[in-house]
């Protein structure tokens, strides 16, 4: 589902990613771990073209990205198949919860409005936010906002989901409710890449753990192999 080959990203003269290669099979859960500044976010954002790279290639959900500028429309098509969830949620504050979830399909899809809305309500129920459909993001807790953000990404029907530290901005109780949602998604067979410091999550859900250090893949393996036994 994802193939990264010898990815190189340079920022201000420094090689932030220095020849990263990895593969993510369909239906698997990959967690990216590594010290702060090791390039996890940069790698994740290269996967959906939010950041450019100068060497190597990415193949994801049937789309191929090469180094340098992309042909017009290519990134938009790729991103419709690749959902992303951010550390800071980034919900649209001027829209209600339901409108946050339906905006993507409304702008980009061809389905009728009531169908889009019904599908969005199903997604909101799945993340436990169905009764907040009419609320504004500012009135929600962080955990609730992040669950809405997940529903928003799912509304485009992505083949791959990318998570960049989805629980780092949350307290443990809210973290748990968000992680439960992600684990549930993983059990449903959703292909995903999750950047996280949460070893518990990696052990519960990860098919493979990739450890980055200074822009290189340090180790790849199962959660037990990379993170050691629990406790």
């Amino acid at each position: 589902m994802i193939d990264v080959l010898a990815l190189v990203a340079v920022r201000s003269g420094t090689r932030i990613l220095d020849g990263v290669s990895l593969g993510v099979p369909e239906g698997s859960v990959t967690t990216l771990v590594g010290p702060s500044g090791s390039g996890k976010s940069t790698l994740l954002r290269c996967l959906n073209g939010l950041e450019p790279f100068s060497g190597g290639s990415v193949t994801i959900a049937g789309h191929r990205l090469a180094a340098g500028p992309q042909p017009p429309g290519a990134l938009e098509r790729l991103r419709r198949d690749v959902g992303m969830v951010f550390q800071q949620f980034n919900l649209f504050p001027h829209l209600t919860v339901i409108d946050n979830v339906t905006l993507g399909p409304r702008v980009l899809g061809r389905r009728p409005a009531d169908e889009v809305r019904a599908a969005a309500l199903v997604l909101l129920d799945r993340v436990g936010m169905g009764r907040f459909a009419a609320a504004r993001p500012a009135t929600l807790s962080g955990g609730q906002q992040q669950r809405v953000a997940i529903a928003r990404a799912l509304a485009m029907g992505p083949r791959v989901m990318l998570f960049d530290e989805p629980t780092s901005a949350l307290d443990p109780r809210m973290s748990a409710e968000v992680l439960d949602v992600i684990v549930e998604l993983a059990r449903g067979g959703q292909t995903m890449v999750v950047v996280t410091h949460d070893h518990g999550f990696a052990r519960r859900a990860a098919t493979q753990v990739v450890e980055l250090a200074s822009g290189r893949v340090q180790r790849t393996g199962t959660a037990e192999a990379i993170l050691g036994a629990a406790g």
């Binding site: 959906n48 991103r79 419709r80 980034n90 993507g104 504004r136």
Partner: protein, 505 residues
């Protein structure tokens, strides 16, 4: 962005302005003029020739038959003439303040006889209609028929006898357009912005060679006389000026002056000898004043609203487009847009209006005054709005754009559905207060013949002599219009400060 001006200040400024216009306690009578050694005479060079105009070969020098008349009168009083510039329809207000007399083609009217001291007549005029040679019109009565496009648009000097005559004639199908200068007026006849112009015969003769595309239509009609105005409380000066004019007529110097200016001296002397006296108009009561002026003031307030409500949405749309272009547009576009903003912010609105109204016709784009005013206001304010929107767009966190892009939207879709709506909300308070500023700036449009509330006030106040009363009424009208906007602006501010707590399920 402009600093918001509280609506209350309009009232204060109007009242201060009215106080400044009231006649002063001590006007300079004849003794003071002699002691000073100079007679200060007021006129408007912009009014044009043959009265008073800047010498085309040496713009610092004044020429005109009234320049020479003023010199003769001053010499008779044994003093030097000194020129004072002022806007034509407001010249009498300078009397007793910065001018001793007004010599500038002021017709003897019942209102002027009532409000000022009018000298004996020094010139007998009649009104002359002027039109393009290719316009089918052969007499004033022709104005009763269909114009080239609806009613005939006829230019006049604001406050002149020509304007009074055109507004008085109910039998003609005319739309009267007021100008501050004859040359501007004739320019707009030439470029077909208006269909004809009505002016004193001597002005038409004077400009005949300058505007070969124009011709005099029919014979001069509805005549009257020019008088020198002095303040009511300088009777000795007024009498001395009368005596001086009498001597100039008696010894032939005035006749010679008119002959020098090709203004038929002999005929003038005969007309002046037989000129009828004009009786002063009675002073009207307050109720009468309101009855006659309030409908006109209200109609002009409507024009102020029309100008604001048409120009501001345009300014907002333009400004937003410019802001988006400067932040997200292609690299080649950005410097062009920056230049657009700097030029429009760095030059006066008045100049921009002049350029649109008087210069565009020269390249074949003749806009009617109202359209020119709306376009000018919209362009000018679009520069200010674009700066506000630029700040607003920058205030939207970058994560918002990224989240929209991550869904698969193009940059323009992301801007349109996610970033711009948020920026618009953020800038609502400053944009609303700019609307109030534009609302007041509409008064500048009077410079290109649009009669809005301030212009109407000025015309009515001068013709009725009720400066203070009408100032209060006008200020109240402005307040009634701008106060709701102030409240709206404050409401937006509060909503922005306290966005949570709404829409809770």
């Amino acid at each position: 962005m402009r600093p918001p001006r509280p609506a209350r200040r309009i009232l204060a400024r109007a009242l201060l302005g009215a106080a400044a216009l009231l006649p002063p306690a001590h006007a300079a009578d004849l003794d003071a003029v002699r002691a000073r050694g100079s007679l200060v005479w007021a006129a408007d060079q912009e009014g044009g020739g043959p009265h008073v105009y800047a010498d085309p070969d040496d713009p610092a020098r004044l020429r005109g038959f009234e320049v020479e008349l003023a010199a003769l009168v001053a010499a008779e009083l044994g003093v030097e003439p000194r020129f004072q510039q002022g806007q034509w329809d407001r010249l009498p207000l300078l009397l007793g303040r910065s001018a001793d007399c007004v010599i500038n083609g002021f017709e003897s009217t019942p209102e002027r006889q009532r409000d000022w001291r009018c000298s004996r007549p020094y010139y007998a005029y009649a009104l002359q209609l002027v039109a393009r040679r290719d316009v089918a019109l052969d007499s004033v009565e022709g104005l009763a028929g269909e114009g080239p496009a609806g009613p005939w648009r006829v230019g006049v000097l604001t406050g002149s006898a020509a304007e009074i005559e055109m507004r008085r004639r109910g039998d003609l199908r005319v739309e009267v357009v007021g100008f501050d200068g004859t040359v501007d007026c004739l320019e707009q006849v030439r470029s077909r912005v208006i269909d004809a112009a009505l002016m004193d015969d001597c002005i038409a003769w004077f400009n005949a060679d300058r505007f070969p595309e124009l011709r005099c239509v029919g014979r001069p009609f509805a005549g009257g006389t020019y008088v020198i105005l002095t303040a009511p409380d300088t009777p000795a000066l007024g009498a001395a000026i009368d005596d001086a004019l009498g001597r100039l007529v008696a010894d032939g110097r005035l006749e010679a002056l008119y002959d020098r200016w090709d203004m038929a001296g002999r005929q003038q002397m005969l007309l002046l000898r037989d000129a009828a006296e004009v009786p002063p108009a009675p002073r009207s009561g307050l109720a009468e004043l309101m009855r006659s002026t309030l409908p006109l003031l209200l109609r002009s307030a409507g024009m102020t609203i029309l100008l604001s409500c048409a120009a501001f949405p345009l300014a907002v749309v333009l400004g937003l487009s410019v802001a988006v272009g400067r932040l997200h547009g292609p690299a080649w576009l950005r410097p062009a847009l920056t230049l657009y903003v700097e030029v429009l912010r760095g030059t006066p609105l008045l100049l921009q209006l002049y350029a649109i109204f008087y210069l565009l016709p020269k390249v074949g784009l003749a806009l009617p005054a109202l359209a020119a005013a709306i376009l000018g206001l919209a362009l000018n304010y679009s520069a200010y709005e674009s700066e506000i929107y630029r700040a607003g767009l920058k205030a939207v966190p970058p994560g918002q754009l990224e989240a929209a892009l991550a869904l698969g939207m193009s940059k323009w879709q992301a801007l349109r559905h996610v970033v711009v709506p948020q920026a618009v909300r953020i800038v609502m308070p400053p944009v609303t207060s700019d609307f109030i500023a534009l609302f007041k700036d509409t008064s500048v449009c009077s410079a290109i013949t649009v009669v809005e509330l301030t212009k109407r006030y000025s015309v009515l106040a001068l013709s009725s002599g009720r400066i203070a009363e009408l100032a209060v009424v006008t200020a109240l009208l402005y307040l009634a219009m701008s106060w709701p906007l102030s409240l709206l602006s404050r409401w937006f501010e509060q909503r922005l400060e306290n966005p949570a707590g709404r829409d809770r399920p």
